[in-house]
Amino acid sequence: MAAYLIRRLIQSALILLGVSFITFFLLFVLPADPVRQIAGRSATAETVENIRQQLGLDKPFIVQYGRYLGALLQGDMGRSYLQKTEVADLILSRLPATLLLMLGAIACELVLGLTMGIIAALWRGRALDQTLMVTSFVTVSAPQFVVSLLLLYVFAVKLGWFPIGGYGTFAHLVLPAVTLGILGSGWYSRMMRSSMIDVLRADYIRTARAKGLTRARIVLRHALPNAILPVIAMIGIDIGIFMGGIVVVESVFGWPGIGQLAWQAIQRVDIPIIMGVTLVSAFAIVLGNLLADLIAPLIDPRIRLR
C-alpha cells in the first residue's frame, strides 16, 4: 500500500510537470504576444520592449520555463500580467465558489444520473429505458447557455423562487448546481445503466434472487455497490472538469468561480493566470483520480492496490 502510494505520487508529480511544460510551451508558441496586451494600443516600441525585458519574455523558452518552475516550486505562482495581483490570491479568492458549485453539481448529477441509470437498467429494453436514454442524450448535448438561461428565466425571473444570479446563500447555489446536474447527469445515467446491467447478469445476483430476497434488497444491497465502481472513477474526472471552470454557467448565474478567471485570462494572454488555473485543475484531476483509486478497494474488496 505504501509503495503503491509512493509510486502513484511520483507519477502524479510527473504528470503535473508534463502538463506545466506543455501548457507553457503552447503559450510560448501561440501567435499572440502578451506584452502587446499589457502595453495597449498607444504604447511606443520602447515601452513594449521595456515591458518585455522586465517580465523576462525576451529570454529563450527554456530560461522562461526554468524561471517559472523554479518560482512555482517555492510556492510562487507569480503575478498576473494585467492585474498585477498574485495569481495565488486570484485563484484562492475563487476557490470556495468553485468547490461549492462543484459539490452541488456532482450531488445533483449523482442523484439524477444514478436514479435514471438504475431504473433504465431494471427496465432494460422497455419504453421507460428508451425514454430515459434519449433524455440522457438530450441533456449531455444541450447547449449550456440555453439551458442555464431557460432555468434562470423560468425559476428566478418568472416564478421568483430563486435570486437572479449571484453568490452567497444556498438559494443562489440551487439553479447553477441543478443546471450542471441536469447537463451532466446523462453521462452518469448511461454509465450506471451499463454497469448495472452487467452486474445484474452476475451469478451472485441469481443466487440472491434464488434465496428469495426482495427485489429492492437485491438491487440496493447486492447490485448497486458492485455497479457503482466505474461511477466513482468518473467523479474523479468530473472534479477535474469542474476545477478547470464552467465558463458559461458561471457567467449566466454570475457565479464567481475559476472559469471566468481562466476565460478572461485566455482572451488577454495573461500567462501566469492561465498557467495557474491549468495547474490547479490538473492537480485536481490527478488528486481526484488518485482518491477514486484509493476508495475503490473500500467499496470492492476484490480490488487490491499494488
Binding site: D33, R36, Y153, V157
Partner: protein, 537 residues
Amino acid sequence: MKRLLASTAVMLALALPALAQDYTPDPAAKPGGSITVTYKDDVATLDPAIGYDWQNWSMIKSLFDGLMDYVPGTTTLRPGLAESYEISEDGLTYTFKLRAGVKFHNGREMTAEDVKYSLDRVTNPETQSPGAGFFSAIAGFENAGPGGLSGVEVVDPLTVKITLSRPDATFLHVMALNFASVVPKEAVDEAGADFGKKPVGTGAFKLAEWTLGQRLVFEKNADYWRPGVPFLDSVVFEVGQEPVVALLRLQNGEVDVPGDGIPPAKFTEVMGDPAQAARVVVGGQLHTGYITLNVTIPPFDKLEVRKAVNMAINKDRIVQIINGRAVPATQPLPPSMPGYTEGYAGYPYDPEGAKALLAEAGLADGFETELYVMNTDPNPRIAQAIQQDLAAIGIKANIQNLAQANVIEAGGAGTAPMIWSGGMAWIADFPDPSNFYGPILGCAGAVDGGWNWSKFCDPVLDAKAAEADSMADPAKAEERLKLWSDVYMGVMEQAPWVPVFNEERYTMKSERMGGEDALYVDPVSIPVNYDYVWVKE
C-alpha cells in the same frame, strides 16, 4: 514673454472652440442612495497608471483626479486639480497652479510634490504603464526612470512647472487622461504592486470594499473638493454578469446600469418595447470601425485596388447587421470629433466603378486574399457581409476568424492583408483629432507590433500631422483643426482604410436614475459619469 491669465475661464475660452463655462450640477438632484452597476468582465486594476479597460476607465475617473478634467457629458476641457494654468509664448512651458486644501482619501493634503511624483511614476519604465507614451512631449521623457522626469519641476507646494521638449497642442488633454491622475506616494509605496487593488486618490468616491471576482463598492468621499458632488452615497459594481442576465435584473429592479449595454440579441426586443426603450439613452461615441488594407501586401500596394475595395463595401447593409446602432462612416474621424471634415461624402458605394478600377489595375479577373476578423458576434457576420461585397467585384476573401490577441498579432506583424477592426476598433483616448492618427495611420505605428495595420506611412502627411500638433497657441486652434482635416483627407486619397461605421452608444438605466441624459453617454466617463448622476427614490 509670458502671457499670464488670471482667470481660467478666459484661458479656456481661448484654448477651445467651445466655451468652457464651468458646469452646474442638476439643481433637482438629491443626495443619497446607492446604485448597482454590472459588468461581464472582472475589473483588472484601479491603478490609474495601469488601467486601460472598458470597465475601469470611468471607475478610475471617479476615484482619482488629474490636473485637467472635462465638463461632465461633454468633450470640453476644464481645470481639475489645477486651479489655473499659464502657457508660455513658445508653447513649451505649462505652469499649473494647484487648488489648496485638496485631500487624498487617506486624509493628507495634495501638493505639487504629488503631481511630480505621479508623472514621474507613470513615465518610469518600471511602472509598465500602457499610457507612458502619451507623455513623450515632456522634457526628459527619453531618460525617464527612477530619477524622475527632468521636465517636471515643483516651484512651490502649490505650483508645478512642466517643460516640454516640443510643442504639443494636445498636452492639456493628456493631463486629463487617467494616466495623469495624481496619486499619493506613501500609499503607492505601502501597497507596492497591489496599489491597483488598494487605490487612494482625491476623487469623488473612494474604494470601500473589493471582493475579488464578485463586487466592488465605492463610497462617497465626503471631503471631495468639488462642492455638492457626488450625489450618490455609494456605487456597487457587480462583475461576472452575463449582459443578458443583467438586463433581466434591470427589469426586475435589481440593477441600475448594465455596464456592457444592451446585448445585440436583445436589442430589437428592448427598442420595440416602449417601457424599456424609454430607459435607453443614445449618444455619439468617438469610435470608428474600419477595414485596414495592408499597403505592403500586393495587390493592396496599388491605389486603384484600395479605392475599388472602398467602393465595393455596402456600409448601409453592415449598419443594418448591427441593428442600426451606428452611422456609415466617410472618413477616419468620427463626426463628433473636432477636425471632422463636414460635407465630405467619402467613396460612394459603386460596385461597377469598383470593377472598372480593378480592371485598370490589371486585375479584371479579381484576386484572392484574406480578411482577418475577431471571433465574437457580430464581427464574423460583418466579415461575411464584407466577403459578399468583395465577391461581387471578383475579389475572393477568405475569412480568418481568430481570437482578439491573434488578430492584433497578425495586424502588428503586417501579415494580414485585410482586417475588420470590430472589437478592436479605435475609440479615442481624448477628444482631439491627433488621437486618430499617430498609432493607427502614422509612420510611428507602421512598425512591427504597431497598431497601424495598413502599414501605411506617408512622410508628407506625417510632417503635416507633426506641424498641426506643434500649434499649441490657442489662437491657432481653428487653423490647426483645418490642418488635421487636410491630413485625414490626404489619408482618404490614398485609401489605406475603408472607414465603415461610427458606433453610437446605447446605455440603459433604471427608472429611478436621475440626471441629464448626457451623463449616461458621457464621451469621457464611459459608460456613466458616476459623480453627477443621482437617484430619485
